[in-house]
């Protein structure tokens, strides 16, 4: 691999690695207490029996 690509790889993972892990943790720690897929049209809050399982 050329030096440029090796350096790019290192830089990308040094920056992207922590960032993507932080985004993942942020998304998980901020999950709604009653998760609903309100981002998907046509789906509203569901009953506890089916909560989050479709």
């Amino acid at each position: 691999m050329q030096r440029f690509h090796r350096d790019c790889h290192r830089l990308i993972w040094l920056i992207l690695g922590p960032l993507v892990i932080a985004a993942f943790i942020y998304a998980l720690t901020n999950r709604p207490e009653m998760p609903v897929m309100d981002a998907v049209p046509g789906e509203g809050p569901r009953s506890p029996e089916t909560q989050g399982r479709n």
């Binding site: 691999m1 050329q2 090796r6 993972w13 709604p32 998760p35 609903v36 981002a39 998907v40 399982r53």
Partner: protein, 344 residues
């Protein structure tokens, strides 16, 4: 390595590789749908399919991203690297089917354009309405470009450095997909299974890349000591060389492959394969040629050219041996230039 255009340069290894790949994907999809419908009988078949194709795609993508650093850390993973581009195309197809099913299920029956609604229906600022689908769309576009150019035709026409840079977009696609998953399904999914597997996969991908990068950093250390009066630089001691085993060195920011062969000959060529910039110093010496560990491209050590009928060539370096040390002129010769091997 192919001298003329072929859609796929099939060989026994590639056929076996693809057979295992397709078999594993079909098994995964069947198991996902089978187990899913048994545990959650109220979930519709199309929803299970959407999730199954997404899960399969994410698993394959993690596998693709882990192969590279694993092969750099341990040579035993190299056979998986050989046909990685077929994994990439398979991953794109899985993602495409997932996207197609999701759009047909969630966006096909509104008044708005199906594609447009991906960007408008879930736009918002709260966690529950984070536009996760837009991230999935962007990732799929990147994966399409990569799958479409995953061929030596494009590699040859774009040149290895440009092609390599283009394919580093896979990391952008990966980040977009992690966000797509974390802010999409994981916001709605109460089961810890997805969270655990996604977390493990993410940690493995990031950890392996950092570990491999750290190992490679050691190999990039410049040689100690400046050039001699004639401009030559000492790259290693003769006793460091093992016959027919390439030895790596870093000179002027680029890597070299130093080779002792035919008992007493020493040649030095660029350590960067012309095909995909693979690490030639980590390859083997096979049938009188330095062989790239990634895809088997070969170069003769004295002139850096591939054996006929192949036309690939790499730069060579003038070399001499004095006082038990291998000295190299840091100025590379044009690719394919024959250099008399140094004798010991």
């Amino acid at each position: 390595m192919s001298v003329s255009y072929k859609a796929v340069g099939w060989n026994a290894f590639k056929k076996r590789y693809d057979l295992i790949l397709v078999g594993a994907i079909v098994l995964f999809l069947a198991a996902f749908v089978g187990v899913g419908s048994a545990i959650f009988p109220f979930v519709t078949f199309e929803i299970l399919l959407i999730k199954a194709f997404a899960a399969a795609g994410i698993v394959v993508l993690h596998f693709i991203l882990m192969i590279g650093p694993m092969a750099r850390l341990d040579r035993r993973w190299l056979p998986l690297l050989y046909n990685r581009r077929h994994l990439g195309v398979a991953m794109f197809l899985l993602g495409f089917i997932h996207a197609l099913l999701a759009v047909m299920t969630y966006h096909a029956f509104g008044t708005e354009n199906m594609i447009l609604s991906i960007f408008t229906q879930d736009a918002g600022t709260t966690m529950g309405s984070f536009p996760f689908q837009a991230f999935g769309f962007v990732a799929l576009l990147i994966l399409f470009v990569m799958a479409a150019t995953s061929h030596d035709f494009w590699l040859a026409n774009l040149t290895a450095p440009v092609w390599k840079t283009l394919h580093m977009l896979v990391y952008v696609a990966y980040v977009a997909l992690v966000i797509h998953v974390a802010f999409g399904i994981l916001q709605a999914e109460t089961s810890p299974v997805y969270v655990v597997f996604m977390g493990l996969g993410l940690s493995a991908v990031v950890g392996l890349h950092l570990a491999a990068g750290w190992k490679q950093r050691d190999l990039d250390q410049e040689l100690a000591g400046g050039p001699a009066e004639d401009g030559y630089v000492a790259v290693c001691a003769v006793e460091d060389l093992v016959e027919n085993e390439p030895h790596g060195a870093c000179l002027g920011g680029e890597r070299l492959a130093v080779l002792l062969y035919e008992e007493n000959k020493i040649s030095v060529v660029s350590g960067v394969c012309q095909h995909q910039n693979g690490p030639l110093a980590e390859g083997k010496f096979v049938f009188g040629c330095l062989t790239c560990p990634w895809h088997g491209y070969q170069y003769k050590p004295d002139d850096g050219s591939s054996p006929e009928p192949f036309t690939e060539r790499i730069p060579t370096f003038n070399v001499k041996v004095a006082d038990g040390t291998v000295w190299v002129d840091p100025k590379p010769n044009p690719a394919g230039t024959r250099v008399e091997p140094a004798a010991i």
